[in-house]
Symmetry: C2
Subunit: 364 residues, 2 copies
Amino acid sequence: MTSEKSLKEPEVNPSHPPTTPRTSHPVTMREVAEGAGVSVATVSLVINNKKDARIGAATRKRVLETIRELGYRPNALAKNLVSGSSRFIGLVADAIATTPFAGQIIHGAQDEAWKHGFVLLVANTEGDEPVEKDAISMMLEHKVRGILYSTWFHRPTEIPAALQETDFVLVNCFSPDSDALAVVPDEVHGGREATEILVRKGHRRIAFINATIPAPAKDGRLQGYREALESAGIAFDPHLVFDAYPDQEGGYGAVEELLKRDVTAVFCYNDRMAMGLYDGLKQRGLSIPEDMAVVGFDNQEVIAAHMRPPLSTVALPHYELGAAGVRLLLGVDEAAGSPVVKLECPPVERESVGPNTLTAPRLP
Amino acid sequence: MTSEKSLKEPEVNPSHPPTTPRTSHPVTMREVAEGAGVSVATVSLVINNKKDARIGAATRKRVLETIRELGYRPNALAKNLVSGSSRFIGLVADAIATTPFAGQIIHGAQDEAWKHGFVLLVANTEGDEPVEKDAISMMLEHKVRGILYSTWFHRPTEIPAALQETDFVLVNCFSPDSDALAVVPDEVHGGREATEILVRKGHRRIAFINATIPAPAKDGRLQGYREALESAGIAFDPHLVFDAYPDQEGGYGAVEELLKRDVTAVFCYNDRMAMGLYDGLKQRGLSIPEDMAVVGFDNQEVIAAHMRPPLSTVALPHYELGAAGVRLLLGVDEAAGSPVVKLECPPVERESVGPNTLTAPRLP
DNA sequence: ACAATCTGCTTAAACGCTTGATCAAAAGTG
DNA sequence: CACTTTTGATCAAGCGTTTAAGCAGATTGT
C-alpha cells in the first residue's frame, strides 16, 4: 500500500509555478485532474470550454488555476489521435531555397495556414522522385489536412499517385490532363501589365525579349504583350519580339539585336535579363530610362529594387500563391469556377521607365 | 446480429489494390490484422520487424501482402502517442522569406532533419512576440524533438522562456549571457578570408567599407580584416576603414571617399554594398578589377554571381547553419567544447579581383 | 515418457485525450 | 410532498498503436 500515490507531497520548488523542469516527464491532464480534485473529463471540458458542458464556476476556476500552476500543456498528439486528423498542412516543394521565390511560397502558405490554426510541415524533394514519395508518405502518415505540391517555377507537372490519398492543391504548377485544384500566376495578365507600364508612358515601339526556353510564362507573357498592344491600338510587329536565354548573359547579349530594332522601350522576360541589359546599354553609353525604357518581370526584390535606376517590373505573386493554395485546400475561398486559379501579377513601377521622348523627333 | 462485421464481403473494386479511395476511412492496423487473420500485435511486430519477435515466415508474408493489398499506412499520430515523442523538429524563424538567407537555413535544416528521419515544422514569427510564443507552444504541444530558433541575420537574442521546456539550439544568433547551444557564422574568419583574396593578388592598400550599424558582423569582419593584414605584414591603416550604410546606396555613396584613399582594392561589408560600389565606379569610368579590385560578403547568389564582372565574395554558410543546428540538436556532432559553434565562411572567388597592377607603376 | 525449451502467436494494458451516456444532488413544479 | 427537470460532474469506451507477459503446441533432452 505504500506505493499508493502519496497525497500532497510537498513541492520541490514551489516558487516559480510555470517552471516545468525538462527533466521531469510532461504534465498530463490526469495530473491536472488530480491536482484540482476533479476527473480528467472535467479538465478536458474546461480546457476546450465546450459550449454544452455544464461546469461550475468554482470548479472551472480551480481547474484553470491548477493548469497554470502545473504548467500543463495539452498533448496535441493525443488530441489528434482522437479526432483522427491533425492540424498539419504539408508542403512539398521541388526546391525550397534554390531561389528566393520558393521561400515566398512557404512564407505565404505558412502565414495563411497559421491563420486557420494549421501548421506547415515542409519537405524538400529537390525534384527527386523517391524522396518525393517518402515525403508524401510521411505526410499522409501524419494525417495532414492536405498537401500543397509546389514547384519553384511555373510549369506543368505530373501528379504523384500518393497525393490522391488526401486533399491537395498544386501551387505554381498545374496538371494539363486532370481537374486537380491548382493555383498559378496569370502570365497573360502579367505580360499585359508589363507592357502597359510602357504604353502608358507613351511608348509605341516596344520590344519584347522573350525566353528561349518553353514554359507557360513564355507563351503567356507574349500573349499579354500582344493584348496590351492591341488595346492600345498599336500594331503587333513580329520583328520587335526575339528570344534570349533568360539570364544576365542573355540580356547583355540581346542589346545588339535590340538596338537594331529602333525601339524606345523594351519588356524583358525577367529581371535578370533586364539586369544584363542594363549593363549592355550602359556600356554603350546609353542611359535608362532616357535612351531606353525597360521593364522586367518577377520583381526579384534583391535585384530589381536596387538596380540603378530601380527597375520597373511585374511581380510574381509567390506569397499569394502559397496563401491562396492554403485557402483553396481549406475551401475557405469562394469556390472558383475553374479548378485552376490564376493570380494577378501586379506591376511595380520604379524608375526604369520614363516618358517616350522619341515619338517627337529627338531634340527637335 | 446483422450488424456484425460481415466476413469477406465482395470487394467493390478489386482491380487496383493500392488504390485507396479517399472517401473510405483510412485503413487501420486492425483491418490488416483481420484481413490476414492474425492479431494486431502480430501486424505491429511484422511492420516494425522487431528483432526478438518470433513470427513465422508464412505469417509474415501474409501480413505484408495484406498491407499491400489494403494500401495500409501506419498512423504516425498513434505511433507518436505511444512513444511519447514525435519525429518533429521545430524551426522558429523571425523571417522566413524576407531574405533568401532564411530560406537557406530552412533548406539545410530540413535536409539534415530528413536525413535523421525527422520532419521540419516551420513557424514564422515575423519578430512578433506573441506569435513567437504561440509558435513555440504549438511545437511543444506536438512534442517536438527540439526547436531551432533562428534569426535571419547574425545577432544576439533573448531566449524565449518557453524554449527551455525542450531541447533547442539558436541558429544564426546567440545569447550573450547563457550557455545555450548556438551555431553562428565565424565572422572573423570570413573577414580574414575576404581580405586574403585581395592580399593573395598582391594588393597592399586595401580599404574596408564597414557597416554603420552595430552587429557581430561589423566587429568580426573588421577584426578578420586586421588579422589578414597582419599576417601579410601590412600595417593597419585606420584611414582605410570607413563606414557606410550596408546597401546599394551606401556602396554607391562610398565611392567618393574610397577614391580619396588611393587604394587598389576594397573589401565591402556585403554584396549589396559592392553592387552599389560597382555602379559608382563604372560611372566614373573606372573598371573592375583593373582599376579597383572588389570583394563583397554574403555571396547572395542572385546578385554576386551575375554582376559584371562576377563578384568575388565570401559566403555566409546559411545552409550549413541550418544543418549544423539540427545536428547539434540531435547530438550527432561530436560535442564541441564551447556551446556556440562557429561555422567557416568560405571564400568564393570570381572575377572582381585581379592582380595588383599599381604597386609597380602602371604599364612600366 | 516427461519435463524443459522453443516457436509462433495472442492478450491486454497503456499512451493522453474526447465525448456520449450516466448519475447524484439541487432546484423547480403543481 | 412526490415529481420532473436542471445542474455539475463522473464513467467508460474508444482513437491506432506498441509491447510486456502469457500460452498453446511442437521440439528437444535424457
